[in-house]
Symmetry: C2
Subunit: 231 residues, 2 copies
DNA sequence: CGAACAATTGATCCTCATCAAACCTTGTGG
DNA sequence: CCACAAGGTTTGATGAGGATCAATTGTTCG
């Protein structure tokens, strides 16, 4: 593929790979472009490929039988996704990956990654480290959902988004791009409640909410809310 | 240590290990016995050892700042726990491990496992497989908590327990041992709600509830409840 | 037998989900 | 370039689902 192999070092799991390895991986990669709202793969599909997002944004989600969905994580550039299938034979994807905007990803056969890992312990380790962070994050979110009230959960979700994909706004503050529906699915609540909470915070000058956009004016206040001290 | 090395093959992650490997691991293991209610380790402690439970039962949990706790998983014999720290240097435990009865576990230095994995890809793979199942389970439980009502969540929690540690009762049905408080922490609800739901089910003849004990009379009914079809 | 712990049950209250309707914002096509 | 459609957001009204509190009743074990 026409990707510059060394760029792949930006991928978490490839940070310790040799130039040679990156070249091999690049050679085995094909590019896939997906329209906004379309899917890279569905939960339950055979996990033939894993992906590295080149641009721009996607999300991993799960749906329950009734069709309600839950957001597991947002994927931005140079993040790997769909890689858990590389671990076992005949694995299937654990979640569904949907493009939030028209997006492009590299696709590499899971088998190939597995093959590489046989002889390159550092690859296994870096993948395990990534998996550990997933476990940790899911455990935290699970505890949150079980024990915290909505307002805190929303604050937490926002803070996670900031860490993951926040950009500094020229006007000061941190800018985030997503719908309130998305935020609701990330914090286990509804669109309506998110809207109300954001309005509330806006009155207090903590955030500014707009269409598919939130500007965080006082991150520190958000942290306070997320940690308790019920205002 | 005086453990028979080949017994270690019952451990998920060691199923593909050579006899030689098992012997090495056994040699590096020390035994730790813990009283009921005491702790193997706490979340945040440096993850110096990983453990393999020899007997009898323990649980992994997280607490929030306010002290409310959430059960992540129940550990029974020959299950490994606290191993995620083996992945990175200076890692800390992601959860707290508490003995549910007086219990014994083998403790092995995390460093040693890491060393072994450097040259034994199958070990890494088997650990990764285990991690994958954790991720999958946590994702499912997270979705459940976000989208399902209590009754279903309790049913699901029971079914998971059955799969993990259910024993057939002589009177017919499947027997489980735990407090309703535990079950509440596993399904993200309260002691009171669990009690009410179990009473309800008892009236319908689905289960029988007693002190630290639940007998499941009609597992099939439980599955139905967990899957929807609001009775 | 009594103390400690587990379970039950009723009464009450509060947080949020749900429904409905209107309001904005953005992009598109005539 | 305006008007309209489509999607996103806001806000109010209502009610259900559970959490919480309080008091009582088992159960087990020393």
């Amino acid at each position: 593929m026409n990707i510059e192999p060394t760029k792949l070092r930006q991928v978490n799991v490839f940070q310790n790979a040799t130039d040679e390895d990156l070249k091999l991986i690049a050679q085995h990669a094909i590019e896939r472009s997906i329209e906004e709202g379309e899917f890279f793969f569905f939960q339950g599909d055979p996990a033939v490929y894993f992906y590295v997002l080149i641009s721009v944004r996607a999300k991993l989600m799960q749906m329950n039988p009734a069709g309600q969905q839950v957001n597991l994580r947002t994927i931005s550039e140079w993040q790997m996704f769909g890689a858990l299938g590389a671990v076992r034979d005949n694995a299937t994807y654990l979640a569904t990956a949907q493009a939030l905007e028209q997006s492009t990803a590299l696709a590499v056969k899971s088998d190939y990654l597995r093959e590489l890992m046989q002889t390159r312990p550092y690859l296994s380790f870096d993948l395990m480290k990534l998996m550990t962070t997933y476990i940790q994050e899911m455990q935290e979110r699970y505890r949150e959902l079980a024990t915290e009230k909505v307002e805190r959960r929303i604050a937490h979700a926002l803070l996670r988004l900031v860490a993951q994909m926040g950009t500094k706004s020229p006007e000061g503050g941190i800018e985030l791009t997503f719908t309130q529906q998305d935020l609701a699915e990330m914090s286990g609540t509804t669109l309506y409640t998110v809207s109300r909470v954001l309005s509330e915070w806006q009155k207090l000058g903590v955030v500014e909410a707009g269409r598919e956009r939130v500007l965080i004016r006082k991150p520190h206040e958000l942290v306070k809310i997320s940690e308790g001290a019920d205002r």
